[in-house]
């Protein structure tokens, strides 16, 4: 009876097996014809022919591993799982009976004693649900996409016509600018002449004042030098002023002093006039001996601020925001510069000069009228020129946008000049498609550029699936930041995730209807059909 029981059981198993097409273990349906029972088997690479009982006998005969589709004997073999209810697939032979459940139908662990659960149905159900969901999304997304294409077409035409308009207005503006330039130049000529006249008069007046001051000082100095009040300055009296030593060799000799006095021993006030011209640059007043003579730094000082301004102008335009580290560096540099600036001694002197010489008197009525007229012409000209530049910018932008690669049907055009944000635990990420990607700390701090628009960078057959943003802020001791944006089909346009797989190389997931494929063109994603 027991034997009989077994027998029945075997038959039942046989019956169950026959539902599936008979073939050696691990062979896919597509290759069944190569494995015919009771006929010699030829390795699929044709290298050898062996008796059929050596197929799946757990010994590797064929170089390509094709005689052992169902065992782990061949190092390069593949095992086919039918996975009824789910997707069929291949696993490397080495995973057969290795104690790990690889195939969802458990067929790879037929002799390892591991208790595997058949999860194919569950997986199949989940996948089906997932596919359905995706199909729905794709369907809706594709509808949006059609709309987007339509809008893009409309938008493109609008832009083209606008470009025409603007180009016309540019011509008008150009003519206007030219006309105003002539007006301006005509008004500027008399203005310039009047101003020069005024300035020259002021210079002359200043020269007179300076000469008088010099004379007064000379008299003072004479008295100061004339220590014995005899009405003469002698070379000995001169020698007490070592700063006057012509060769500055720390020894102010008699001969040198005499030389300064024009070869005589002493001079009176009249003769001192020539001497004064030679020594006034060096002379240090006895009462204010501590004050160093006015140095040559004066010129540098006046030049410095303007050059500083120049250098400040550049970073805004060309250098993107720095990250924290570099900000620190810059601060350091600034401080260094401050430290190394020569102590400014001349400023007080400048002020003194101004005080003594006074400021330039205002323009007379006639000059002022000319200036006002010229200024008006200038303002009008500048305004017109500015308007022209704006129009030119507009044209450039329009041309750029019109010629931009927004996908085969311009379906990505709607992203232009938009921005999308994603907030994570620490940062707010901002994607402005075709412009740049940035990252800003949630709780204060400066923005970091994660890359500006580079190119479409998907694989050859799907180039519009990936965007690449490059040349962002440099990393400390590393490359410039860059971001790869992966686009997937979605009803909405959203940044769904960001990550930093390698340092300073960001990855962003972005859904958009524009990437959705026509659901009717490709039925389902599976090249393998399901076996039931």
């Amino acid at each position: 009876m027991v034997m009989f029981g077994h027998f029945v059981l075997l038959v039942l198993i046989g019956g169950a097996m026959s539902a599936e097409v008979q073939r050696p273990r691990g062979v896919p349906l597509s290759k069944r014809q190569f494995y015919e029972e009771d006929k010699p088997f030829t390795c699929l690479d044709g290298s050898r022919t062996i008796p059929f009982d050596r197929v799946n006998d757990d010994y590797c005969d064929c170089l390509d591993g094709s005689d052992e589709p169902g065992t782990a004997a061949c190092p390069n073999g593949n095992f086919h799982c039918t996975n009824a209810g789910f997707r069929p697939g291949f696993i490397p032979s080495s995973r057969v009976n290795d104690g790990i459940c690889d195939c969802c139908d458990t067929t790879d662990e037929y002799n390892s004693g591991v208790d595997c659960q058949n999860t194919c149905r569950e997986l199949g159900r989940k996948e089906k649900e997932e596919l359905q969901k995706m199909a729905e999304i794709a369907k809706e997304g594709f509808m949006f996409k059609k709309q987007l294409i339509h809008e893009a077409k409309q938008g493109l035409e609008d832009k083209k016509s606008k470009l025409g308009d603007v180009q016309n207005s540019k011509k008008d503006l150009e003519a206007k600018v030219e006309a105003l330039r002539t007006v301006k130049e005509t008004a500027e000529q008399p203005e310039k002449e009047a101003k020069e006249r005024h300035l020259k008069a002021w210079e002359e007046q200043k020269a007179v004042i300076r000469m008088e001051k010099d004379k007064a000082r000379m008299a003072d100095v004479f008295l100061e030098l004339d220590d014995d009040d005899d009405g003469f300055v002698s070379f000995t009296e001169l020698q007490s002023h070592s700063e006057l030593d012509p060769d500055s060799d720390a020894s102010f000799t008699e001969a040198e002093a005499q030389g300064l006095l024009g070869g005589v021993d002493k001079v009176d006030t009249v003769a001192f006039e020539t001497v004064w011209n030679n020594i006034k640059e060096k002379y240090a007043s006895e009462s204010t001996a501590d004050v160093p003579p006015p140095g040559e730094t004066t010129q540098e000082e006046t030049r410095d601020p303007s050059s500083d301004n120049d250098s400040e102008n550049y970073p805004d335009e060309d250098i993107p925001e720095e990250d924290d580290d570099e900000d620190m560096d810059e601060d350091d540099e600034d401080m260094d510069e401050g430290d190394y600036k020569p102590p400014s001694t001349s400023q007080t002197d400048d002020k003194k000069d101004d005080d003594e010489e006074g400021t330039m008197p205002p323009y007379d009525q006639e000059t002022q009228t000319l200036i006002d007229a010229a200024q008006k012409a200038r303002d009008e000209f500048n305004e017109a020129e500015k308007a022209l530049r704006e129009v030119e910018d507009q044209i450039r932008n329009l041309e750029k946008e019109i010629s931009f690669d927004f996908g085969p049907s311009s379906e990505f055009a709607y992203l232009y000049s938009q921005c999308y944000e994603l907030t994570t635990g620490e940062y707010v990420y901002r994607l402005c498609p075709f412009n740049k990607v940035s990252q800003k700390p949630k709780f204060g701090g400066s923005e970091t550029n994660l890359g500006t628009w580079g190119k479409w960078a998907g694989p050859e057959d799907n180039i519009y699936s990936v965007m690449k943003y490059e040349h962002g802020t440099g990393c400390w001791q590393g490359p410039n930041r860059s971001t790869t944006v992966k686009l997937t089909c979605g009803k909405e346009t959203v940044v769904t995730s960001t990550s930093e797989p390698s340092r300073c190389e960001y990855l962003m997931e972005f859904t958009s209807p524009a990437i959705c494929q026509d659901p009717s063109s490709s039925d389902s994603g599976h090249p393998d059909h399901e076996e039931l």
Binding site: G99, I100, S502
Partner: protein
């Protein structure tokens, strides 16, 4: 015997002698009346007497004892080659130091260490090994304080020597070794060999054998600083499956923790660590996390409070808890020299205490020199105070060793003592081999670092540390694809095989560089599996010292260990032997078209592993290589046997195979292992038990037997199974049938014989099916 000036002791029937001279003090070791080693030959024996203390011994236990340095010199007579003293990024043979800095042993965290530099690196083993054609000797200087070693070869090295050649010839060569330590006692041992293997056994008897690692740890390890979060780990794990690249372990660096608090998980990035480990364990893969010896100063963290209140931290001179900066910022350092602290720390690894840990989680001890960012030489001040009042200077080089010990104990105890631990450590000392694996620290992605990794690993092997390797690909900087492939190929032939990269490098998982690179790396990892999982298994049996008759062996050996008389091999850095059978010569040159291989032994025959071509030994070969065929530089030695791979036989050959369950201590506690000896003689291959003790049930079978160097081809192959009737009648084919009947029953240790008749013309044995091994 005794004379006026000396006392002589002898053993081994007078063959060996120790002669002690009274004045000047000398200690000579002689063999056959010839002096091998002299202690104090240059009168450099010296120790500073401790201040204000009546006796030396009593001061040992007192705080801050004052200057205590000591030194001694040894002369190795007849020796021109000395090795050892890890860890330095230097060549295999130690250099003469008379032109510059001495070798230093002081464990330090040196980021991207300079090559060929004699300053200390992460770990220290104060063992120096001298070798000449007829003898190998060793000097083991047991001291864990800051130590300097001067080496002087005389006659001096040919490169630097200006001595006229005539004069040189008259001198008997010798090597003077001068040891200087900052503190401690003079405790040194002279190991006499005379054969290399005997010397290694002598050293192992002093410091211990390599711990038997769990099998998974011999596979490929994938590491990065850092895999960012659970999704990242799962994606990398899936990548290996998708590209059909086997791997066994994925690692997490410091960022997995909650603010660099070890034993915790970042709640946002790793919210479900146990589930993640279970996900990996489904594929029998493991996870390894970092656990460093510094503990964040954070009174709100229970583990910190426990350590603080339990007195488990190292103190400063004033008796306050020492603080220094490391990854978490302000940190204190566990005092692993204290047994109670070690016990407490071990308990931190128990499953109930270490939340989110599962049995498939293992550990990695980094920064345990210890690294203190704001400390002198980036380590702990020498006057910090340990358990028992010992100053840090006394035991500095042991700090990492003790953490390693406590961690390994922790992993063993969490399983109730049944499972083998795996712990990787960066810092080490003599004896660290008993505790786990070691790697060479932070290297750089350049060809020079790839090259230097080989002598570094060989030196570690010479000093007993067999389970070691270097970070594949280079930790710092980005390797180009060629370098990456070559590094995988070289790394696959070293015992510890881990790809690792720093946080500012580009991703470099094996499939990111195109199919050619992926395929080459896949091949390298496959070769590693074939070689190490099974082959290293054989070697580590010896480490565990289970089988007394097995020769003690290193996993990777310098050529001279196997060819002690081959002087051309004494300075060979790039080639080495894996066990006694395989010669490895990795490609370490950029753009290499060919590789020069020195095949030692003029009476040897070598077989190329990929082509089975035979070469006579005793010459150099130039073999062509391309990116994928790194195996072409693996050659076999005649007369050896490698189970599973190939059997290489001429007149005779033998080899052994060890197997156990791969994870537990049952091999030790229940003798659940199997050691089989395969031997071939007169056309007869025998597979029998090499140990009476082992009892391990497994269903492994002999897949195939390949024989290289058979002069004539066999027509018949007979398989004899004891208990079967009439072995002579059972030709191979009939055996196959019988075998099918018995499949699954041969799980005992009865011996089986395969008899091969080699009369006619067939190159390999036609078709033995899987013959049950056991």
């Amino acid at each position: 015997s005794k004379t006026k000036d000396s006392v002589t002791l002898s053993w081994s029937s007078g063959r060996y002698q120790v002669r002690v001279w009274h004045f000047p003090f000398r200690l000579e070791v002689l063999c056959d009346q010839e002096v091998i080693v002299t202690f104090n030959s240059k009168d450099k024996l010296w120790f500073e007497s401790l201040q204000n203390k009546p006796s030396y011994l009593s001061t040992l236990f007192l705080f801050f004892p004052g200057p205590s340095s000591l030194g001694a010199d040894f002369c190795l007579h007849g020796f021109q080659h000395v090795y050892g003293l890890p860890q330095h990024a230097d060549r295999l043979r130690l250099r003469d130091t008379s032109d510059g800095e001495p070798y230093r042993l002081y464990n330090l965290d040196v980021f991207a260490a300079d090559l060929y530099c004699r300053l200390g690196l992460y770990g220290s083993v104060p063992l120096i090994v001298g070798h000449k054609p007829d003898r190998t000797v060793g000097v083991f200087w047991l001291n864990a304080s800051d130590t300097f070693i001067n080496i002087q070869y005389s006659p001096s090295d040919p490169q630097g020597g200006e001595t006229p050649p005539v004069k040189k010839r008259r001198l008997r060569p010798q090597t003077d070794v001068h040891w200087l330590s900052e503190s401690g006692v003079i405790d040194c041992m002279i190991l006499l060999g005379p054969a290399p293997q005997q010397l290694f056994k002598q050293y192992a008897q002093l410091t211990g054998y390599q711990a038997m690692p769990p099998l998974f740890s011999l596979g490929y390890h994938q590491c990065r600083w850092n895999y960012n979060d659970e999704a990242d780990v799962k994606a990398v794990d899936a990548g290996f499956d998708r590209h059909k690249i086997p791997y066994d372990v994925i690692w997490l660096d410091i960022e997995h923790t909650d603010g660099k608090r070890y034993f915790t998980w970042d709640p946002a990035l790793f919210p479900k660590p146990a589930a993640l480990q279970q996900h990996l364990e489904k594929k029998k893969r493991k996870m390894i996390v970092i656990s460093d010896p510094h503990i964040k100063v954070d009174p709100d963290w229970p583990l910190y409070r426990e350590a603080r209140d339990g007195g488990h931290f190292v103190k400063d001179r004033e008796g306050q808890i020492f603080q220094g900066t490391c990854w978490p910022g302000e940190s204190s350092y566990l005092d692993f020299s204290c047994p109670e602290t070690r016990a407490w720390y071990s308990r931190c690894y128990s499953f109930d205490k270490y939340k989110g840990s599962t049995p498939s989680l293992f550990v990695w001890n980094d920064m345990n020199e210890p690294s203190v960012f704001n400390g002198p030489e980036q380590t702990m001040p020498k006057d910090a105070v340990h358990h028992g009042g010992w100053e840090h200077r006394e035991l500095h080089n042991l700090y990492g060793f003790y953490q390693h010990m406590a961690t390994a104990d922790g992993l063993t105890s969490r399983s109730g003592g049944s499972e083998r631990p795996f712990v990787l450590t960066r810092s080490f000392f003599a004896g660290s081999q008993r505790l786990g694996a070691i790697w060479t620290g932070d290297n750089v992605a350049t060809w020079e670092y790839l090259k230097i990794s080989l002598p570094m690993v060989l030196t570690l092997n010479l000093t007993g540390i067999a389970f070691c390797g270097a970070d594949v690909g280079g930790f710092v900087k980005d390797p180009d694809p060629e370098l990456l492939v070559r590094w995988y190929q070289a790394g696959a032939l070293l015992p510890f095989f881990r790809g690792h990269s720093a946080n500012d490098t580009k991703r470099r998982e094996p499939w990111l560089f195109g199919e050619e690179v992926t395929a080459a790396i896949r091949t390298a990892i496959h070769a590693n599996m074939a070689l190490w999982i099974i082959f290293t298994g054989i070697r580590f049996i010896i480490c565990a010292n289970l089988h007394k008759n097995v020769k003690h062996s290193l996993s990777c050996r310098p050529l001279w260990v196997e060819f002690p008389e081959e002087e051309s091999a004494f300075t060979e850095d790039n080639q080495y032997m894996i066990g006694e059978a395989l010669l490895a010569c990795p490609v370490t040159e950029q753009g290499a078209q060919t590789v020069k291989v020195l095949l030692p032994g003029s009476d040897e025959i070598w077989y190329d592993i990929s082509s089975a071509k035979a070469y006579k030994g005793g010459k150099s070969l130039s073999l062509p290589v391309n990116l994928d065929t790194f195996a072409s530089i693996l050659v076999f030695r005649r007369g050896t046997f490698l189970p599973v791979l190939l059997l290489n036989v001429q007149a005779s050959a033998d080899g052994e195979l060890y197997l156990d369950d791969g994870h537990s201590f049952e091999y030790r506690d229940k003798k659940a292992f199997s050691l089989r000896r395969f031997s071939m003689a007169s056309g007869r291959l025998l597979c029998r038990s090499a140990s009476e003790e082992g009892r391990f049930d497994c269903d492994n079978v002999v897949q195939s037997v390949s024989i290289m160097g058979v002069k004539s081809k066999p027509t018949t192959v007979n398989v004899h199974v004891p208990g079967e009737d009439d072995p002579e009648m059972s030709t191979f084919n009939s055996y196959r049938k019988k075998f099918e009947c018995f499949k699954g029953r041969f799980v005992s240790f009865t011996a089986h014989r395969i008899i091969i008749h080699d009369e006619t013309k067939q190159i390999t044995m036609s078709k033995p099916n899987k013959v049950p091994l056991f």
